[in-house]
Subunit: 480 residues, 3 copies
């Protein structure tokens, strides 16, 4: 890997043949000593480039570990928010989903998303075979100078980081379809989502595809990850129908069985976002990653505070499940724009997200759409809001030193006109239309073949016994 | 950001006009090749400085993520140690507290603590506005050569790291006032603590303030973080009074409802300390961070072992809650001195902490001070011990290569006399006096306005229903 | 630590005495400017070497934090898989075990394992005293060029990384002997395992000992860590005998009390493996760490999928405890070979591990060996499989650029003949024979002295009351 500049040393130092005045030797001596010392400098300069790659790789991998850990966050969040009779099923789904994602994204997804191809999808790089074709999509992460860095870390590091993202999209679905979906249907849908649906729209935005070419920006995936997972979840939840007894004359609350693990899940997800957003630079560039950590955290904090206060006023009590979803709402909301907005805007974006999520949960109830954990409100609604917010609050190219002139146009509220906002809306619509259509197709196919909903008897008894023949807490008395 | 040494290349290479003997060309050829190759070395050397900033920033951010995750640790620890009827309240407090800390520290706290100002408090940098004034407090972390590094990472990275610390101080309070405090009172007190109380004494020690000028040392916050949180917790616990039924003829144990999540919380906190202490170098300096990881871990390990054995002898059984608090006691105890003591001293400091904490818990009981989770014993008592221990065991300046001549004087047991010990005691007293006074003021004001304690009926029923209208484990049958 | 190239500057720049033609000055001017600018390059090049050490140290420490966190993973996994009446005991064991490991490995273990000595054990470096003798075992991690890096990070960083490994071996035992072992017996056995047993066979493989000299390879410890923990666990489980009522006419399932925390534990362990395997490079070398992250993850994913499908077919339902153990089986299986095999081989190795573990659990049942959490199947059986798999799938030296000609021979299925496989089998046998013999000796001595099994009455009542006089969930109704 190292170039071998030491060879320079092996060039024999030709002896002086015609000695002149004594001072004439000085340049020779000096040169000689330079030639002796400089190779060290050369060797080190090669190592300097290596070091940047090494540091960026370590950063990408360590942040991807945090994103991977979001699986534990979703697992705890969703399981705690549902009833104990379905806990094993939720744990099993959330555990196996990263295995499924790994298989699907390795074999097909990564190639479709990041391989060379056309503006609609990639056509190479399946099974990570072939040359590292990602430099060909070097401007996939448009708008940051990490475009360079995208090509700067090993293919395996890029793959694992993107796999962790893809896995997130699949876990989002899990919560919305909980407590009534067949394990096998979820199993297959996850493969389809991570192998086909997610990578294709992902290619449009991050794979140098058609939306990237139009100037659509989504830094870390409010649209690419969260609305895609959210749309798939919404369609699934609608097709499945609500849980038995969920909507009588009025909505019947079905409280989660273990809010301790839900709160833990929320904090694990908050932690994971410090991988999700700043890791999306794909390089340990100090200014952007520091900025993104702070915008991300401020939005999450304000989202949590806003949901607390909103539920305090609107629902009369500071509702823990709303605090949890408020934090997540703030984090989802700032994901698209975390690198492009100032701290004040991030606070506002998160705050609005935290308010929206409370009302969105209520709205879905009134529409009789049953989403046991609020996944649609958090990921689809706030993901959409976050993508729009970029068109409102982006500071514009050149405002942060790491943009290098690239990046989204200034947003509507930042004196930049409506253009970026319109492109954002177009992107939301395009991704939404595709994901709704094809996830509908997937869900309908599954319904027609393996079936998607468990029997009424099984649902009443709990999916744990029906699908897994075991209980999560067999010793504890539950009831009445 | 990059210097532009490439300009050297633009100096036209003057052609030789008077060729002399053939050997005379050699210096020219050699120079030419040097001029061709060296710019790369120059460019790389510029990048080398960038790389150090990038690496230090990555280190500071990654360790701050670990510290952030301590919120999950405190959340699980405290919730598990309390009764299930108050679990939602504890989860909500521990979840929202980092949101509150973010708001308070961003708007006010960071400026008060690290902004330029006077020896008592900073007067600039509110809302992170204005120039990065932290270089002006470049010797804030006196005693390590990370003083330089303090100025070496972006302001946003410094802010987030310090925010994670500030959040810790607030979570300490949460446990001691648990199971009887009004949610709103805790909400407001957290804002005051993180916005005002913590930053002011923090400025004295880490913000180039009056205690720093006197030679007081507290590497990672035994005093600055743990005793401040501990004092505020103690005053709150005293003013609130004990939980109903806690002290009858003799203390009545009120066992925690879920020791599984408490043990998890302890391990998360142990993990978080690997951010807390070695991250406080603010730079990835290999020798100090490695040393600090090991002193920190040895102290935590010995604290846990000491509390196990002490409780085995003294309480007749190895008590799990004592093992948990012993580990934390060891970690808190070494926090002040982790960079300044050798491994053997660290072991002794942790061991003493682990013994102290067992007796401190008993002592508080006999004083009828009700601290449901042992926060005062762990954070205040062991934080004080740890600050004293620095004056006993510090190896003195120059003993470790990273001191560069700075750092605390040698401690009393290391042949250094009593001077450092006296300064440490002075610092403890000053911080304690301020924090007791002003947290008393805050608590009394809250008691006189919004009230601090829930009604007796609500306490008996549980705060979850009273404050949040929900239960943590609604399906499980609880109670005798 | 810094070379001091600045001294070059101190060579006085002799004035020109006999000026020649005007062009003759040029080399002087150029040399002068080089001498002015180059010292910066020299200084930076020194810093470049420092930076590599700093980055590698940060990598080693951060990955060791992930490995440390595996204690939380084992703690949750094992506790959840057992019955609630023994939960406190399991939590206490899993919490104190890292404290015990720290003490034993600091005082004795590290010196035995990595100190200079003979091919059987090290004889220096106890209490981390003396010179950093690890360069003397610079080729301990044979087969990667991290041999150099092994000497390249501070001793304390090496120690902590290896301590985290050693702690893992001890936690493996905890699960297999659960629900019937005396706390004191486990306490002492852990000290013996981490202080003596583990380091000695560890020295053979990683301490430049006899197996390393024979060409045995085990990159991150399928044999060194997992089979050692597994053998000690197996002997303990056999000597203790099964739990009361476990084997009647046929095996009686004793389901775990809390699968939520078990699933969490599995995900924490999966996360920890991203420290365990890629951290074992001991350097942030971008190509190997990226490759190892992906092989590790693919094996874990395929292990989980294989166990899911196997249990679906063979046990008729996708069993959550099998999914959990399948993921771990895949991870253990690839640990020996993660740096030496391609992605397809890693998938196959993990898949086979996931199938094996299901049948192994059944086999142990039929042998009436009671292992409450499946530790023997996961760690011993799959650790052995993983060590064998290296001899089957290793791509051979030179196939990956980071080998530098070293590394295991090509495996049997990769066209390399049977030699590496035979050496692997020899290593498995040697480590197994030693560990069985000496852990048998330890367990028998403990049985003859402090006793290893609790009384029948205590076992029926639960170890929590008998050993710790407390309950994990005192408020919740358990039964019947």
């Amino acid at each position: 890997m190292l170039q071998q500049p030491q060879r320079a040393l092996k060039q024999p130092l030709h002896p002086l043949s015609r000695p002149g005045g004594r001072w004439r030797y000085i340049p020779w001596v000096a040169l000689g000593s330079l030639l002796i010392f400089c190779p060290a400098a050369f060797a080190q300069s090669a190592t300097t480039a290596d070091l940047k790659v090494a540091l960026d790789t370590a950063w990408v991998l360590l942040t991807s570990f945090l994103i991977f850990f979001m699986n534990a966050g979703f697992c705890m969040l969703e399981t705690g928010f549902c009833r104990s009779k379905n806990a094993v099923n939720l744990l099993a789904k959330n555990l196996i989903v990263f295995g499924l994602s790994t298989l699907a994204f390795w074999v097909v997804g990564f190639g479709l998303m990041f391989g060379d191809g056309n503006p609609l999808f990639g056509t190479s790089g399946f099974l990570l075979q072939g040359a590292d074709n990602s430099p060909a999509v070097g401007d996939a992460y448009r708008g940051t100078y990490s475009a360079l860095a995208w090509a700067g870390v090993p293919l395996n590091a890029k793959f694992f980081f993107q796999l962790a993202f893809a896995g997130t999209a699949a876990t989002i679905v899990s919560g919305a379809v909980a407590e009534r979906i067949k394990f096998l249907a979820f199993f297959i849908f996850s493969l389809l989502l991570v192998g086909l649906l997610y990578p294709i729209t992902g290619h449009w935005v991050w794979g140098d595809g058609m939306l990237a070419n139009l100037g659509f920006y989504d830094f870390a995936g409010s649209t690419v990850v969260h609305t895609v997972g959210g749309w798939a979840a919404l369609i699934g939840a609608i097709l499945l129908g609500p849980r038995l007894g969920r909507f009588q004359a009025r909505p019947v609350a079905m409280p989660g069985h273990n809010l301790s693990i839900s709160a833990l899940g929320c904090l694990i997800l908050w932690l994971g976002w410090f991988g999700f957003n700043p890791g999306s630079t794909m390089a340990a560039d100090p200014l952007p990653i520091s900025h993104i950590v702070v915008t991300t955290n401020i939005a999450g904090a304000l989202g949590g505070l806003a949901a607390t206060v909103t539920s305090w006023i609107y629902l009369s009590k500071p509702d823990l499940s709303m605090i949890i979803n408020g934090v997540l709402a703030g984090l989802v909301s700032v994901t698209a724009s975390c690198a492009y907005v100032n701290l004040g805007s991030a606070a506002l974006i998160g705050l609005v997200g935290g308010v929206i999520v409370v009302f969105s949960v209520t709205l879905l109830d009134s529409l009789k759409i049953d989403d046991p954990v609020g996944a649609v409100s958090v990921h689809l609604v706030c993901g959409t809001w976050g993508t729009v917010a970029l068109g409102l609050f982006s500071v514009g190219p050149g405002s942060y030193s790491w943009y290098g002139g690239d990046g989204p146009l200034a947003g509507l509220f930042m004196g930049g006109g409506i253009q970026q906002l319109l492109v954002q809306l177009l992107g939301i619509a395009a991704v939404g239309a595709f994901t709704v259509t094809f996830s509908l197709l997937c869900w309908l196919t599954l319904r027609a073949t393996v079936g998607i909903r468990v029997s009424e008897a099984e649902e009443i008894q709990g999916l744990d016994l029906g699908e897994h023949a075991m209980e999560a807490y067999p010793e504890f008395q539950v009831g009445p």
